[in-house]
């Protein structure tokens, strides 16, 4: 028996919105410690890793480890049926082939039940090694989204260059070039708006814009985003989900050559 209850449907909605563009389907691995989802997009360029800790749920029960393969599009559709303030409960029997998603309105007057078929997905799980990143940039999530959106107009790929002074995003294409520099904020008044750079070594990496833009779908989940970079290692874009866990996107760097 698996049962997880969240106070607000809006969080789950946002999570689904954040991953459903990249992934068509994914396996939710439910265990005592929480729910995890790890999946690559179809082109195997990026990887989504979602972790929802059990203590972040209002109620969490998972008697046996359970893997629920879901069509994320369908899941998102179901979640669209929920009001933001609703309670969400996900339920599944052991070895079940369906999952039940229940929405209860705050005053308990409306209870809606949705049952979704599960899928048996044959997805491989990647072992992500612990990595010491040479650059870790924390910045407002909205800012990052904005940068990615803007630079996508210029080129397919964006170069992220992180030095002691700050982080520079640049793109060059047929139209011209675009450069956005962010300096580390001197005085931290509001933590949400701070740009914090933790750098061991300067790094310059090239990434595909479209994936970065897909990642920024998670912007509503968090005020801050954390970019971790290291030469020849996938970029990690992490959005923390408050009190619940985090969602991490991994993006393999582009091959750098003279053209770009």
């Amino acid at each position: 028996m698996f049962e997880a209850r969240l106070g607000q449907a809006t969080i789950l909605k946002k999570i689904l919105d954040a991953i459903k563009d990249l992934l068509n389907e994914g396996t939710f691995d439910c265990s005592d410690s929480g729910i995890q989802l790890q999946a690559m997009d179809n082109s195997h360029v990026s990887l989504v890793s979602l972790t929802l800790r059990s203590d972040g749920f209002d109620k969490f029960r998972c008697d046996r480890n359970l893997s629920m393969g879901m069509n994320l599009g369908s899941m998102a559709k179901i979640l669209k049926c929920a009001n933001n303030e609703d309670n969400v409960t996900m339920k599944a029997q052991d070895n079940a082939d369906t999952v039940t998603i229940m929405f209860e309105s705050a005053n308990q007057e409306k209870v809606s039940d949705y049952e979704m078929k599960l899928m048996n997905l044959d997805q491989e799980h990647l072992g992500i090694p612990e990595t010491e990143y040479s650059c870790v940039v924390r910045m407002p999530a909205i800012e990052f989204a904005r940068i990615c959106r803007d630079l996508a107009q210029f080129s397919e790929s964006v170069v992220i260059c992180c030095t002691k002074e700050g982080v520079k995003f640049s793109a060059s294409g047929d139209v011209g070039t675009a450069n956005i520099k962010l300096a580390q904020t001197g005085s931290v008044d509001k933590e949400e708006e701070a740009v914090i750079i933790d750098m061991q070594e300067p790094v310059t990496l090239t990434f595909a814009c479209r994936y970065l833009n897909a990642f920024t779908k998670a912007t509503p989940l968090s005020t801050q985003v954390q970019l971790s970079m290291c030469a020849d290692v996938p970029l990690v874009v992490e959005y923390a989900i408050k009190d619940l866990g985090h969602i991490r996107y991994y993006l393999a760097p582009k091959i750098e050559d003279n053209e770009t």
Partner: protein, 696 residues
């Protein structure tokens, strides 16, 4: 379990299912005032409905339906809306959320039903109507589930088959032709005829197959049953074989003649070397089974039958995806054989059978004067007859079974491993980058990974492959506008070899990388993070490993941890001077591998020598009787291990370089200092007479 039930009530079941579900759809038409008369009318329309009414079990169900119908009629009189929700509640309790839609469904169905009545099953229904009927059907099936507990299991099958039709996830309500009807696509066509076929298939599933395989046509499903039974039979026969291997056989003139009757055995047997011995053995056991040697014709016919049976068995061993006809043929052939088979089974499992076979085995001359000392003091029979030790039975059986089963299993295994391999290959970083560097790198990569590919050496072929692959890919990618043409060709160029050799693979690869396909220049995740694979091994892998170990052990003539010691009253014996784990290789029984005829010859010779011990190990492998003669003292330890009915070793036949070897494995964990023993398997009276220790 399901199969048994099915057998128990073969005829009624489908009739019920068909009857109910059909009449349900008939009942659902509220066009008559008097409900039961409406039912009757519907029944006359449909022959199957008669069966429905004939079965008293359905009374409750019918009553309910009638009741429902009355309501519906009332509702019609009242003007529709209110009662429709009522009926909705009655029918689909579980599907409460759909009650809104159901009202419309009912409405449409009414009209549709009326129409179809006029047009006698016309196809001009609205799609909604079609869907409704389909849904109705499944719902009623659910009802049945609750109503009839006895049928729960069977109906569950039915339910599971029917359930995809409820989903209507990908609705493709086209007009149907019968061929499409039979398939169980989620979006199959919901027309009246369609439903009929649905039900029919359900019925078939009930009667015949244990597992309702989803996308079978009716005929296929019919053919399924022979497969099932044959599979079953094979299993049994395998069992029997393992038993009856304890019958030592020999070549007697009378039986060898029968070989001519059994030519098909020889031709059809795909096992490597089917010989006289195998067929003779069966005849023998058959004779024993009947215990009547009086009438030669009956024996002859029995031989024929046996021959056939043998043929079936061997065929079964290999014919997995064979044609329907074949299977049916087999099925037919098998039926008259059931009785015989059983007999054999019985005879082979008892001790007396062994004794008998022994006497017959030792040539007519010997059997004539029984009182004489048997040719050899005793023999070693593999696997030993059981009966006395039920616990060990399973073990020995299992052991004996495995070599027989292995060819088929291995095939499947190979296929499986092949599949998994290809899947694994899919996981390899796909060379989609157009850049030269990348290409080079990928080439190397693939080469390392042992993917079948044409190397750069034969460039002509390469070019062909390139073109072909590019073509293929372009076809596949036509819909994918995301990829620029250049990128397409580049990507195709990057992985032409793999796709040219394995187009199917390429297809899946292409299918996999659909939406965000603009990976040009991007590396893949799998380059950085290793795909995690479970270190747990499958059963087959473990088995394979074990076999490899055994093979190695035999090849290097391993015999460590053993010591020869003298025992009072027993002579030499072997003790363990190290621990052996369960199923571990201990020693091989080394000797000359000889045929049965040679063995009888040698036995006669050894019989003259009083001091010659017993070192003839008879065993059967792949239907052929062999003997390993270790009479000559070679200093090998395998031959010195003593007998015990509760020994701590078991024998296993291992084929190495197409030659069967006998290896002794630890039956349980063996401690240091324990004497190693195994069951010689000889239970014959003569042997016991001369070697009373065989009884221990």
């Amino acid at each position: 379990m399901i199969m048994v039930r099915r057998r128990a009530r073969p005829v009624k079941e489908p009739a019920l299912a068909v009857g109910t579900s059909n009449s349900d759809s008939a009942l659902a038409m509220p066009f008559n005032g008097e409900p039961i008369s409406a039912v009757a009318a519907a029944a006359t329309n449909n022959l199957l409905d008669d069966q429905y009414f004939a079965s008293p079990k359905r009374k409750d169900c019918r009553l309910m339906k009638a009741h429902e119908n009355i309501r519906k009629d009332n509702g019609k009189a009242n003007g529709g809306n209110s009662t429709k929700s009522e009926t909705g509640r009655i029918i689909g309790v579980q599907l409460a959320t759909r009650s809104q839609t159901r009202t419309i469904e009912n409405f449409f169905k009414a009209s549709a039903a009326a129409k179809s009545k006029k047009k006698n099953g016309a196809l001009s229904e609205t799609t909604v109507g079609k869907e409704t009927i389909a849904e109705k059907k499944t719902i009623t099936l659910l009802d049945e589930l609750e109503v009839d507990e006895e049928e729960e299991l069977l109906l569950y099958d039915e339910h599971s088959v029917a359930s995809p039709s409820t989903s209507t996830s990908s609705p493709a309500y086209q007009n149907d032709d019968l061929e499409v009807d039979n398939s169980y696509d989620p979006g199959c066509n919901y027309t009246p005829t369609d439903i009929d076929t649905h039900i029919q298939i359900d019925a078939h599933t009930q009667t015949e197959t244990g597992i309702p395989t989803d996308t079978h046509t009716q005929t296929e499903q019919r053919s399924e049953s022979p497969t099932n039974t044959t599979a079953f039979q094979t299993h049994r026969s395998a069992l029997r074989d393992s038993h009856s291997s304890s019958h030592s056989s020999s070549s007697s003139a009378a039986t060898s003649e029968n070989i001519f009757l059994q030519e098909p055995v020889l031709t059809l047997d795909i096992d490597r070397t089917p010989t006289k011995a195998s067929s003779i053995r069966i005849n023998k056991s058959f004779e024993l089974a009947n215990a009547v040697f009086s009438s030669p014709p009956s024996v002859l016919s029995a031989c024929v039958l046996n021959g056939r049976f043998n043929q079936i068995v061997t065929l079964n061993g290999h014919a997995h995806g064979e044609e329907l006809e074949h299977e049916q043929e087999q099925h037919q052939m098998q039926q008259p054989l059931g009785g015989y088979e059983l007999d054999q089974h019985d005879s082979s499992s008892c001790d007396s059978g062994v004794a008998c076979s022994l006497t017959t085995g030792t040539s007519p001359a010997v059997s004539a004067n029984r009182r004489r000392k048997p040719a050899t003091p005793h023999r070693i029979l593999c696997p030993s007859p059981i009966k006395t030790m039920p616990r060990d039975t399973a073990l020995v059986k299992g052991e004996a079974l495995s070599p027989r089963k292995s060819p088929r299993k291995l095939k499947m295994q190979l296929a499986a491993s092949g599949a998994s391999k290809s899947r694994r290959r899919l996981n390899q970083p796909k060379p989609q980058a157009p850049y030269q560097q990348q290409q080079q790198q990928q080439h190397n990569h693939i080469a390392n990974e042992d993917v079948v590919l044409v190397d750069d050496e034969d460039e002509e072929d390469d070019v062909h492959a390139l073109l072909k692959a590019a073509e293929e890919r372009e076809n596949l990618n036509k819909t994918k506008a995301m990829l620029k043409p250049a990128a397409v060709t580049a990507a195709a160029a990057a992985k032409p070899k793999a796709s040219s050799t394995k187009p199917a693979k390429a297809k899946t690869m292409a299918a996999k990388s659909v939406p965000l396909a603009a990976t040009n220049g991007n590396r893949e995740m799998t380059e950085f993070f290793p795909v995690r694979r479970s270190v747990r091994k499958t059963k087959t892998a473990v088995k394979e490993e074990m076999m490899r170990n055994l093979e190695q052990a035999v090849l290097e003539e391993r015999c460590d941890g053993l010591q020869v010691r003298h025992f009072m009253g027993k002579g030499r014996g072997v003790v363990a001077i190290r621990r052996f784990k369960r199923n571990e290789f201990v020693v091989e029984y080394v000797g000359d591998l000889i045929s049965i005829s040679e063995a009888t010859e040698r036995e006669r010779r050894y019989a003259l020598d009083e001091n010659a011990g017993c070192y003839m190990y008879y065993f059967k492998h792949k239907n052929q009787q062999y003997c390993i003669d270790a009479t000559i003292d070679t200093g090998k330890l395998g031959r010195l291990i003593n007998h015990s009915r509760n020994g701590n070793l078991v024998t296993k036949v291992v084929v190495i370089k197409q030659r069967p070897h006998l290896v002794l494995l630890a039956k349980d964990d063996i401690e240091i200092g324990e004497e190693l023993t195994y069951d010689y398997g000889d239970r014959s009276k003569e042997s016991l007479l001369h070697h009373p220790w065989l009884a221990f």
